[in-house]
């Protein structure tokens, strides 16, 4: 107790000492004003840099957004640059008439939920198993998993393999290959190792099985890291388009949202062609005139879910990336 107090006192003294030194420093005549000025300049430059960088990261999304909620006639004349005008949700409503878009949204949501859930379940379980020294050749099996992060056979062999397994043009191709995710397993393993071992030991002494310990102790305690990998997984699934592009040549109904967007972006023709313009409602016509609004609106639809969940989950990312930095 006393020692601690002493330390605290000491620290306070240190602080005071530092202050004094600063004062002394500042009093050293001519240096004082320069230094103050230098500090101010530094802060101005520093703040300005970060404000500009942050705006550069934010503005494009804002720009896309205001263009999608403004009246098409203003957007068509390029008048929407900073402030939305003529608020309307017509663009979003008209999106429902873009053929196949609804289905790709459903496919993307389904793969995001299913793929993430299975990946998290598998990673937590495998991450737990590889912490168990007793496992038969544990070291070998753990390396067997980890090594896969550092090599891959290449795009074409990967494709041929999927073809061989019959996973082309099938929804399973989105889910099954992603179940075992080595990086996430490392994260979970590292996290579980940081949980005091006594908790498990006492449970084993009480006769609990490995599964019980996993369900009752490990699973609840490792929720933060599971949340982290769930976010990684969900974002990855939501954004993925390579597998859709390469593995689904014939199953157009299974294309993901990003793939659809990629196709639309590359369409040189007016996007009116993808609309079911059977009716001549003015909103659909207006919408069709402005191909770029369609692109913007579809983009917003696929960005908004990420923007919505993102800020709340940011704390988890930092934790996750730090754990990943620890040696596997």
């Amino acid at each position: 107790m006393e020692e601690k107090n002493f330390e605290q006192n000491n620290m306070q003294e240190n602080k005071q000492g530092k202050l004094k030194i600063n004062v002394v420093d500042d009093k050293k005549g001519a240096g004082r004003k320069d230094r103050k000025a230098g500090d101010i300049v530094f802060y101005i430059v520093d703040y300005a840099f970060f404000i500009v960088f942050t705006l550069a990261c934010l503005f494009p999304f804002y720009y896309l957004f205001i263009n999608t909620i403004s009246a098409p006639e203003f957007v068509g004349r390029g008048e929407i640059n900073f402030i939305p005008r003529g608020f309307t949700l017509e663009n979003y409503i008209a999106l429902t008439s873009v053929s196949d878009l609804g289905r790709s949204v459903v496919v993307t949501i389904a793969r995001t939920i299913l793929g993430t859930a299975l990946m998290v379940a598998a990673s937590s379980f495998v991450g737990y198993l590889v912490t168990k020294e007793e496992m038969w050749h544990r070291k070998f099996w753990y390396r067997f998993l980890v090594i896969t992060m550092y090599f891959n056979a290449g795009l074409i062999p990967w494709y041929l393999n999927m073809l061989m397994l019959g996973l082309t043009d099938s929804f399973a191709a989105y889910i099954i290959p992603g179940i075992v995710a080595p990086y996430n397993i490392i994260l979970v393993k590292t996290y579980i190792e940081s949980i005091p071992g006594e908790l498990q030991e006492s449970a084993f002494i009480d006769g609990a099985s490995y599964m019980t310990v996993f369900r009752k102790i490990i699973w609840p305690l490792s929720k933060p890291i599971l949340a982290t990998i769930a976010i990684f997984g969900a974002v990855g699934n939501w954004n993925s388009f390579q597998d859709s592009l390469i593995l689904m040549p014939n199953a157009v109904e299974l294309h993901t949202l990003q793939h659809k967007l990629y196709v639309y972006l590359n369409q040189s023709t007016n996007l009116a062609s993808v609309m079911n313009t059977g009716g001549t409602s003015s909103s659909v016509l207006n919408f069709a005139v402005n191909g770029k609004i369609v692109k913007y609106t579809i983009s917003m639809v696929s960005i908004i879910p990420i923007l919505c969940v993102y800020p709340f989950l940011q704390n988890y990312f930092e934790e996750g990336i730090m754990l990943g930095a620890v040696k596997g």
Binding site: F50, C57, Y150, I156, A325
Partner: protein, 483 residues
Amino acid sequence: MAQQPIENEKEKMAPVFAADRILAFLGFFFLFIPGMNPARICEKISNKLSLFTSAVSYSSIVADMKQLFRYGNLNQGSFALLYAGAIVLALGIVVIGAGACISLGNQPMKRISIFVSLPGSVLSLIGLVLIFISHGQISADPNVGPMLPAGVILYTALAVVILVLNLILMVTVPKADSSVSMHMETKYQLFLMFLPFGMLAFVFSYLPLWGWRYSFFDYRSGGELSADNFVGFYWFKYLFENSATRRDIVTVLRNTLAMSGLGLLTSWVPLAFAVFLAEIHNKTFKRFVQTFTTIPNFISWVLVYTVALAIFSTEGFINTFAQARGWIDASTATNYLMGDSHTWLKMLAWGIWKGTGWSAIIYIAGISGIDQQLYEAATVDGAGRFQRMLHVTLPGLMPTYMVMLLLAVAGALSNGLDQYLVFSNASNLEHMQVLDLFVYKLGVEKGSIPLSTVIGMTKSIVSVVLFFVANSISKFVRGESIV
């Protein structure tokens, strides 16, 4: 004492159980290898079909036979029989596998495993008989090109041997003492729990390596790999001897190394970002910056391209803004995404825009881990702001930076496909085509499978070597390996 003979017996039979397990594993493994598919009883069945796929989907078996069914004398029933045979065989193999797993347990469990493996091998044999019958039915029809695949012989041999082994075991392994309860050693229990995931990793990460064999054959899509079209190192030589390909490769390597080189040269940007952000003491502002600069990392390259369109295309922000001010008129509007000026720098800029905030997190966390007393001591010694950065913060972050740099070196040949795929167009391809994009275009779009496999394979091997070099450097310099 009564246990003694049983224990002895168990020891004696251990090699037989081990052989049984290895065979069971082989049987399971060949389930996924198309070359070993016993259900491919005619040439009309795709040679890319594994037994597993054949047993899962009937439509994959008869995919190429719709014509024959429509016009001909081909009996659909034979293929239904084939399908049933494939299912029974696959089921039998799975049962054998389950038996092999159970045999890792103690005496009573071993006994049970025998009575699982036995019916499993019988089931497999029944499946093989069904396949054989359907082969007999279609063998009269030359249109489908009937054949007896190697897989039938292989699986028959496997099933018979497993059957015999288990019959021997049934006779020699005595009945278990009913007082001994079933039990399996912990190490095997844990291993069996791990096994399904290990298999998934194997199937999706190791099995693709099997595809490397395509680089030694003159393969065309839909064709076969056989001794006839084995060409040895032809494609490797072709890469260098064909002048058009050689020119392509040189361009592609130039682009790849240029992009990676620029990435390495700017790898200090996230570090600087973190260091200068640490100088800001307003917590809310810091949080704000961190939150919003990491967002670009979480959107796909397709969306980055939309963003690029929205800002830089002819009808994007910059052009419309300048037009509205009368700085330019509509006819001089430039699409900054077309054209081939400063392509590398533009791609680098997008990479920095997308990645800096995210990469900086690790350094920000690193800075918060540096002992505050070091800063205080430095201040006492009269170090200014920049001196503190240089002599306290940077040395503290160096180990992390070195790891990141080495990993970047190891990944120098992998620029990723997405970014270059979405940003490339006819006008800038010359500077945009990196290895990953080149392989994609060659293999997927042009269907030149052997050549693209050769390139991908070389790339993978070089990358692995680079990684190990980087790892050794790390071991040598820091006394710590990356992995």
